[in-house]
Structures are given as structure tokens and as C-alpha cells.
């Protein structure tokens, strides 16, 4: 099949252009007419009598499942508890080694305590691994980060977070691979799992937490389970994709060599796909870190817990310090796992001695042995002494107060202007639009973009939101997301264009974008709360910051991707620089920029969910409140509402992108 044939297929089921205009005009007219009805009309505000309370029975059902449900003679709860116990074992072991040691309580003797590994030992091991897989530069960076954790008194929390991430990634990654293999082998299963994965990946984190509390109790195990469940879908997807990408002949070779099905999977396919799988693991690590931090809400402890405690008592400096530590861990883990994923095996002589073949584990063991020996004589090398801890927090608290006192008026001015002229009017608009008008427009847009199936999806989700009684909350969420997306797109596109002007600008921006994309969502809340206190405005800023990265990246990439011969052709026909940009490059880069928009929207929804912590009032608040009230049904439905809206926007934008790419005759970017 030629590339041309593949890309110029008509988009099936999409009505013709003139009908489109008519439909849109009709829909707009109808929704405008609805706006003249008074607020008592059932088409404007959903009447109480129409609302169906699904949340309460759902909560009851989950509670029943968690507490009383029996499979034969076995209680469901005892199954979940045993699973929890099983999973907690490796975690306890690792957390003990890295963070807090092991304590054995004895009957008539004081408890017996084995301390954790000395901090120089752990630091040394991570440095060695970084050096082995990456470079001495990364080793140095890792060493400095870890030393900073010790010196600034963040060691235990940082190690606890690290242990959670490692265990979650191992278990979630392995589970994901198994699930992915299953999906690869059974196409029908894979097809059935896709919508589930879509929902799971857009479902707000908080919605996961309530069922986890129900099944596993409040604490690190529930947090760990939530993280594992969260990590499964992306890993499964990557696995299925990686296996499908293998040349067919690799599997055929395995069969001809006489592999059993087990050997075919684990000796041939999975290792042959290892590069792609490891890149998937890199993603999963970053995702798990983000989740582990937020899961401190249900008692995960670690750095996330520290930030949360500090924020609650308004110790901004301490929150900053822990947030900084999270950032450092994120960057280190990202670079390190990326290096491991892309490391080429060096060729070693096969008849090397045993020692040389096991140099890395032996080196690690040696470092630990030496570290333990040293720490016997120099206790400060084992656990950094409390009196030497440099408290970033106290310093930071002062700095924050100083900033607040000095720039108070300016900060307030910015915030109030944005609220009065931007956020408030849009919010009022979203809250007053009759729900039926909204649904009509969504339906018409869906039909125009992708035919009646897409329209049905959009209508179904928004009608469900209305009838389940979440309309107002959903509009609060939507207004915040749409405003943030618009602003992020404008700023991001401009920055992306600027990046194309000079190589230096591009390098600086890409480095900036890289860091933005590595940070866990939670970290974004800290500076905005510091500067703008709580409410919609800090949330708005946080969402923009988080969502802007793909806007920059895709704009820059889209413009760079415009084919050179088209550009040369335009120059030869006498385009000025500005004309070249606006008439040729931007339109041709549009599909790629739109792909960026799609990502901006998805990331904004991802961040929106977390902004409930700084006091936004949309569906995300419902998911957060549900945790405290252990209202699983409410949390789940509100979460599904957000996931549903995100999926609708995703599908609509993808359909739009297909259409535009089709009209421009350019390939649909991936």
C-alpha cells in the first residue's frame, strides 16, 4: 500500500460540507432560543425530579462488597486483605532497607532494631548504577541529590517514596506486561480492554483511592495498590503495541525452533521487544511517582505526606523543600530509567571470569559493605545527625513571607484582574447556558466532525452527567479546563513559534519543557499556592503550567516538519517571511499543532483533578470529598464524569484532526 493511498482515504460516514453549515446554524439557533426560557424550565436547569441518585446505591454496593460479600465460604474482604498483605511484604522489606530499618518486638525485652542501610551506602549504589548505565555526569547529579536529601533532613521520606515507586513499578509493570501479552494473543480481549484502559487512564486518581481504602484499609498498602492499578493500563498498552511491532518472522523463527508457547513468549517475543518495553517502563515510573505522591492522601507517607502536612499548616517553606525533593527524584528517576532503557549492551568476551560478568551487583555489594563498615565508626555517615540538618523549611518560610510582603499588591492585582475579566465571566457563561443547549451543540459538533456515532457518544455522556445530578459541578470543571487550555495554547504556540526562530531559543525551551513534563502534578500546586493562596486562580495557573509543554513541543515540531520542498517552493514564488509563516507553515503544521492541543486538553484534565486540593469546586472536588466521606459511589461517578468529558474532547479533537489533515492532504500525525 502506498503512503498516498493510506492517507487520502475518505473519512467514511461524515456528511457533506453544506449540510454541516446548516446543522451548525440550526443547532446554534435552537440553543440560543433555549436561552430565552426562564430558569424554571426543565430544559434550562435539570429539575430535581429527573435526577437519578445512583451514587448512594453504588456506595452501598461497594461497601457490601468490601465488608460482607462472600464467595462460597470465603469472605471477599479476606481475599483483598491477603492480597494486600502479600503485596506489602516486598514493600516492607525495601522500605526497611532504605528508609526506617526493621523493628522486632519481643515479649519481655526491649524491641530489637536493625537500622536501615547507611545513607552513604544507598547513595553510592545509586551513583554506581547511574555511572554504569549512563555517565559520570548523571552519577554526580545522583550523588548530589541523594546527599542533599540527607543533609536537608528529607532522607527517610525520600527513601520511603522511592521504595513505593520501585515496588509499584515492579508489580504494576509486570502485571501490565502479562495483561499486554494476553491482549496481544487475544485480539477480541484487546478490543474489549481498550475502552476500559481509556477510562482508567482518564479517571481521576482520587476516584481510585476510595475503593482502595475500602478494600485495603487506610495506609501505604492501599496507596501502593492504587499506584499499581494506575500503572497497569499504560504498561499493558505499550506491551501489546511493542509485540505487534515485532517482525512476523521473529515469532515464526521461535515456532520453527520448536519453542513451547511459554518459551515463545518469554524467550523470544518479550526480550526481542525489550527496548520498547523499557521505554514504557520509563513512562510508568514517572506516572507511579506522580500517583505515589498524591496517594499520601490515604496515608502513603513519604515526601507527598510531608508536602501535604506542610500545606495544611501553611508552612510554605517546608512544602517547598519537600516539593523540591520530589522534583529531584523525578528528574533522577527519569534520566536513570531512560539511560537503562536505551543502553546498548557492550560486547564482552564470553569466556570472561565470573567476577567480570557480575561486576555491577558485586560492585554494589562492595559499596554497601564498605559503607556499613565506615558507618560503624562514623555514625554521621549512617544517619545524618539531626543537629547538622540544614532546614530549608525555616529559610523557605522566611523567603515566602518576604515575597508575600513585598509583592503583595502586584500579585493581588494580577490575580484580581484575571478573575474579574477572564475567569468570572466565563464561569457565569458556563453556569447559565441551558443544559439542553449545551447538549444540542455537542451533538451537532460531533455529527459534523465524525458522524452520528461520535454525536451519540458526546450526547450520551453529557446527558448522563445531567441526569445523575452532576451538571453544575461538571460545568465548573469544564470552565476551568477550557480557560486554561485556551491560554496554554496561545502562550504555548507563541513560544513554539519563537523556538523555531533560533536554535538557542529552541534548546532552552526544550530543556524547560523536558523538566515541566517530568514533574509530578502535585509539585505544581506548591508554588501557585504560595503565590496566590487558594481558589480558582492558582488552579488556573497550575493547569496552564502543566499543560503548556505539549503546546510548545508540538508547535515547534509541526513547523519543523513542514516539508522543505514546500517551503522552498513558497520562497521561490515570492512569499515574505511573515507570509511564509502564516500562509504555508502554520496551515501545514496545523494537524501537528492540533495533536498538541489534544494532549494539552488531556493533561489539563489530569491537572484539574489534582487542583481540588487547592479548593476548586467542580467534579474534582466531589472526588476529593468522597475520600474523607468514604463515599465510593459519589467519587467514582464524579470521576467517571471527568473521564467521560475528557474522552469526548479527545475523540472530537481526533476527528477534527482527521478532517483537517484530509483537507490539507497531509498525513495524520501520530
Amino acid at each position: 500500500m502506498t503512503a498516498l493511498a493510506r492517507y487520502t482515504v475518505a473519512v467514511p460516514g461524515v456528511p457533506s460540507l453544506r449540510l454541516h453549515h446548516l446543522a451548525l446554524i440550526l443547532a446554534l439557533a435552537a440553543s440560543w432560543a433555549l436561552a430565552f426560557l426562564d430558569r424554571g424550565n426543565p430544559l434550562v436547569v435539570v429539575p430535581q425530579g429527573w435526577i437519578f441518585d445512583l451514587a448512594t446505591p453504588l456506595t452501598d454496593a461497594m461497601k457490601y462488597l468490601a465488608r460482607e460479600f462472600q464467595i462460597g465460604p470465603v469472605r471477599f474482604s479476606s481475599i483483598t486483605r491477603s492480597v494486600g498483605w502479600l503485596i506489602s511484604q516486598p514493600f516492607e522489606l525495601l522500605a526497611g532497607l532504605l528508609a526506617d530499618g526493621f523493628t522486632f518486638y519481643r515479649q519481655d525485652a526491649p524491641p530489637f532494631h536493625i537500622p536501615a542501610l547507611p545513607w552513604i551506602g544507598t547513595t553510592g549504589v545509586f551513583c554506581l548504577v547511574a555511572w554504569w548505565y549512563a555517565s559520570s555526569r548523571l552519577a554526580l547529579w545522583t550523588g548530589l541529590c541523594f546527599a542533599a536529601f540527607a543533609v536537608f533532613g528529607l532522607w527517610e521520606s525520600a527513601m520511603l517514596t522511592l521504595a513505593s515507586v520501585i515496588i509499584a513499578v515492579i508489580l504494576g509493570g509486570f502485571g501490565g506486561v502479562v495483561l499486554g501479552i494476553w491482549g496481544y494473543r487475544k485480539p477480541w480481549l484487546n478490543a474489549a480492554l481498550q475502552p476500559l484502559y481509556d477510562t482508567m487512564q482518564t479517571l481521576p486518581l482520587f476516584s481510585y483511592l476510595v475503593p482502595m481504602i475500602l478494600f485495603f484499609g487506610f495506609g501505604p498498602v492501599a496507596a501502593l495498590m492504587a499506584t499499581i492499578v494506575f500503572a497497569l493500563p499504560p504498561m499493558a498498552r505499550v506491551t501489546t503495541e511493542a509485540l505487534h511491532a515485532l517482525p512476523r518472522s521473529v515469532s515464526e523463527f521461535g515456532e520453527i525452533a520448536g519453542c513451547s508457547p511459554f518459551q515463545l513468549t518469554w524467550l523470544v517475543r518479550v526480550p526481542a521487544a525489550r527496548n520498547k518495553l523499557l521505554l514504557g517502563v520509563n513512562q510508568v515510573i514517572m506516572l507511579s511517582l506522580a500517583v505515589v505522591i498524591v496517594a499520601s492522601l490515604i496515608g502513603a507517607g513519604g515526601l507527598g505526606g510531608d508536602v501535604l502536612k506542610a500545606l495544611k499548616s501553611m508552612r510554605m517553606g517546608d512544602a517547598m523543600a519537600s516539593g523540591l525533593a520530589i522534583t529531584l527524584i523525578a528528574i533522577t528517576l527519569d534520566r536513570l530509567s531512560y539511560a537503562i532503557a536505551t543502553k546498548r549492551p557492550a560486547h564482552t568476551a564470553t569466556d570472561q571470569p565470573w567476577i567480570a560478568r557480575h561486576a555491577l551487583p558485586l560492585g554494589c555489594a562492595a559499596i554497601l559493605a564498605v559503607a556499613i563498615l565506615i558507618s560503624v565508626f562514623v555514625p554521621a555517615m549512617h544517619q545524618w545527625p539531626d543537629e547538622l540538618v540544614i532546614s530549608l523549611g525555616r529559610f523557605g518560610n522566611g523567603a515566602v513571607q518576604w515575597i508575600g510582603a513585598t509583592f503583595d499588591t502586584q500579585i493581588d492585582a494580577v490575580r484580581d484582574t484575571a478573575i474579574v475579566y477572564l475567569l468570572k465571566p466565563v464561569k457565569i457563561f458556563f453556569l447559565t447556558v441551558p443544559w439542553a443547549s449545551f447538549v444540542i451543540v455537542i451533538g451537532a459538533l460531533g455529527w459534523i466532525l465524525g458522524g452520528w456515532r461520535l454525536a451519540m457518544l458526546g450526547i450520551a455522556i453529557f446527558v448522563a452527567i445531567a441526569l445523575l445530578g452532576y451538571w453544575k459541578k461538571a460545568m465548573m470543571s469544564l470552565y476551568l479546563v477550557s480557560m486554561s487550555v485556551v491560554v496554554a495554547m496561545i502562550i504555548g504556540t507563541l513560544l513554539g513559534l519563537w523556538a523555531r526562530l533560533s536554535d538557542r531559543a529552541e534548546r532552552v525551551l526544550i530543556a524547560f519543557v523536558d523538566v515541566l513534563q517530568t514533574l509530578p502534578t502535585f509539585v505544581y500546586l506548591i508554588p501557585v499556592v504560595m503565590l496566590f493562596s487558594i481558589g480558582d486562580f492558582p488552579a488556573f495557573v497550575a493547569i496552564i503550567l502543566y499543560g503548556i509543554a505539549p503546546a510548545i513541543r508540538y508547535t515547534s515540531a509541526g513547523i519543523r516538519g513542514v516539508r522543505l520542498n514546500l517551503v522552498e517552493g513558497a520562497i521561490m514564488s515570492g512569499c515574505s517571511r511573515l507570509q511564509l509563516l502564516t500562509q504555508v507553515k502554520l496551515p501545514l503544521a496545523l494537524p501537528t499543532i492540533l495533536l498538541g492541543l489534544n494532549q494539552v486538553v488531556m493533561m489539563s484534565f489530569g491537572m484539574l483533578v489534582i487542583t481540588a486540593l487547592v479548593g476548586t469546586r467542580g467534579l474534582e472536588e466531589t472526588t476529593l470529598v468522597a475520600i474523607a466521606r468514604v463515599a465510593a459511589g459519589d467519587g467514582l461517578l464524579a470521576g467517571l464524569g471527568i473521564a467521560g468529558m475528557a474522552i469526548v474532547f479527545d475523540r472530537y479533537l481526533k476527528a477534527l484532526n482527521r478532517k483537517i489533515a484530509f483537507h490539507l492532504g497531509v498525513p495524520i500525525p501520530r
Binding site: 518472522s249 521473529v250 515456532e255 525452533a257 520448536g258 524467550l267 527496548n275 546498548r344
Partner: protein, 339 residues
């Protein structure tokens, strides 16, 4: 050259392979020879249609045809990679469709092996690991399998590269690894699917010579797929020509050249330098009386004897390997094939 009446080791009997859902019932309902239109109506594609052939022990059997003519599909039917839609494949008289999963695995471990056009090397293993892999799958211990693998690596001339990874090797070297790997289990039947097609022409020629050298040592039964008629003629003891899933002609290269079954085969044979393919035996005058004593061997290719025959006067005696007189050859006989 295998014996004339060597035993058949591999047989395809009316093999059909149709791709798509419901292929088997379609073949039953549409009669013995469904047309393309009938199949298309059911969203089916025929890969192989009613192919029958026999491969004898120790010969190089080549399947030749344009791309898309069903060669790979037929090969995959022979190795059990595809389930047949109709017909039978017998290896050593056993219908492979009757084998249990375990017996099929056993057959693949002991009796057959395959070389792929795109090499299909495992990227995570070194050359040594790749070549030893088939033995590892069988559960051989490390020392045994590495010893066997080293021998094979030496056989294909890759000593010193044992610790390299596939992506550090050139295409030709990678295919040498593929060949070594397919030989570690000492298979009886060796399947090769366009093994040299991905290589540059010069390297391809080297590899062909290398392949003939190996076969001289190992004397395997070989089924070799190619779309290149030159390659087929150069390597084949016998060959089958395929078109649109059918086998249109089976025979020795000379038979195809002297007596092509249809226009399709003729098109391939037209540009072949005949003097390099034909043997004296196939163009001599059988039973004639020689008029000189400058004998020529019956199995020699024309190009090898041309100079002598042209220089000599009259009818040369043609002798077989044992020295018995088979017939005569005059330079006039030769002229038709040298222009």
C-alpha cells in the same frame, strides 16, 4: 546430485491455503477449484491453490515465482506455520496435520529448520546466543549448546564475532548467523525463504557460492524460495515455478529452459544465458557414432566444453561419469545455444 530414484522425504498433495474467516467451509462449498471472484465475494484471498510436489532426499528444490505468487505461503504450509485449508503435507510419510502439538514441536526441534528473508535474529542475544538458541529451547546445557554453536559459527566463517550483537553486523553477516542458527540442530530438511534477497548483488553471489559449499559438506534436503530465476537456476537440482498460487511447472532447470510450460515460464527463461545452465547430456545426439576421440563429460555445462567442442572437428563422444558412451555432440548442436 541426488539419485534419480532417491526416496521422497517431503510431499505436498493438493495443498490449498486460503486466508480469511470461513476459508475451509468456502473451499468445501465452492467446489474443488473456486475462482478469485467467488473468493473475493467472501472476503477471502487464495495464497496457494492446489499445489502438489515431491522433494527428494538430498536435493535442492527451488520454489520460484514473482512476488505474491504464494511461495512463502506454500513454504509456511510445509513447516506447519500455516494450517492448511485443503490437501496434505507429508514429511517422511507423516501428515503434519495429524501431529499433536507436542509432536509438531518435536518435529521442528529435530527435523526441520528455517532461514528468513529478514534474518529474524533475536536482537537481545549475541551471535553466539542466537546460534545456540535452538538448542537452548530444547534444554541443552550451556556448554553443549555453545560448543555446537561455535562449530556452526566457524562453519559460516564468523569466528571472532561470537560476542557481537546482530545490529553490529552487516546484512551478509547477519544472514550467515541466520544460516548457522538454522543448522545447529542438524535438521534433515532445511527451509530457506528468500535468504539472499535482502542482500546486495555482489554479496548475494558470495552467499550463493557459500551456500553451495555448505550443501556440498552437509547434503541436506533443501527447499529454497526465491523470486530470482538466475539464483534458482544456479542453485537448483529441481525447481517449481509458481504463479498466482499455482505450481505451473516442475522440473530440472534445463527442462524448464528447453521446454517451458507456458508464456509465464518462457518469460523467465528468455534472458538466461543458456550455455551456463544446460548440460551436454540434454542437447547431445543420443546413440550417435563419434568421429573423433576428444570426449566431453555428459554432466558438463555447455560453457565449460564450448571451447574444446568448437575447436574440434566432427562428432565428439559424450561419456557419463563411469566412462560409458551416451551419444555424440557436434559443434553445430552447440551453436544454437551460444548465440
Amino acid at each position: 546430485m541426488p539419485d534419480k530414484d532417491a526416496e521422497t522425504i517431503l510431499e505436498c498433495d493438493a495443498v490449498w491455503k486460503i486466508f480469511g474467516d470461513g476459508a475451509a467451509s468456502a473451499l468445501r462449498n465452492l467446489g474443488p477449484d473456486p475462482s478469485d471472484d467467488d473468493l473475493k465475494n467472501r472476503k477471502l484471498i487464495a495464497g496457494v491453490r492446489h499445489a502438489s510436489l515431491k522433494v527428494k532426499k538430498g536435493e535442492i528444490f527451488i520454489i520460484m515465482g514473482l512476488s505474491g505468487s504464494g511461495k512463502s505461503t506454500l513454504l509456511r504450509c510445509m513447516t506447519g506455520l500455516h494450517d492448511l485449508t485443503g490437501g496434505r503435507v507429508l514429511i517422511d510419510g507423516v501428515n503434519i496435520a495429524d501431529l499433536s502439538d507436542r509432536d509438531l514441536v518435536e518435529l521442528r526441534r529435530r527435523k526441520i529448520s528455517m532461514v528468513f528473508q529478514d534474518f529474524a535474529l533475536l536482537p537481545h542475544l549475541t551471535v553466539l546466543g542466537n546460534v545456540a538458541f535452538p538448542l537452548r529451547v530444547q534444554g541443552a546445557d550451556r556448554r553443549t549448546r555453545e560448543e555446537a554453536a561455535r562449530k556452526m559459527i566457524a562453519l559460516v566463517g564468523l569466528e571472532g564475532r561470537e560476542t557481537y550483537y546482530p545490529d553490529e553486523l552487516s546484512g551478509g553477516q547477519q544472514q550467515r548467523v541466520g544460516i548457522a542458527r538454522s543448522l545447529t540442530t542438524q535438521p534433515e530438511v532445511w527451509f530457506l525463504d528468500e535468504p539472499f534477497s535482502a542482500l546486495d548483488p555482489l554479496i548475494r553471489q558470495d552467499m550463493q557460492s557459500e551456500f553451495l559449499r555448505l550443501q556440498g559438506l552437509l547434503k541436506k534436503t533443501i527447499v529454497f524460495v526465491t523470486h530470482d530465476f538466475d539464483e534458482a537456476v544456479r542453485l537448483a537440482d529441481r525447481m517449481a515455478v509458481m504463479k498466482d498460487g499455482r505450481v505451473v511447472q516442475i522440473g530440472k532447470p534445463e527442462e524448464l529452459i528447453l521446454d517451458p510450460a507456458d508464456d509465464y515460464v518462457t518469460k523467465f527463461t528468455r534472458d538466461i544465458p543458456k550455455e551456463k545452465v544446460l548440460r551436454v547430456r540434454s542437447i547431445m545426439t543420443a546413440g550417435g557414432t563419434p568421429t573423433n576421440d576428444m570426449a566431453v563429460p555428459a554432466e558438463a555445462r555447455l560453457v565449460e566444453v564450448a571451447a574444446d567442442v568448437i575447436a574440434g572437428e566432427g562428432h565428439h563422444p559424450v561419456l557419463d561419469a563411469s566412462g560409458a558412451l551416451l551419444g555424440t555432440l557436434h559443434r553445430r548442436d552447440l551453436a544454437a545455444y551460444l548465440i
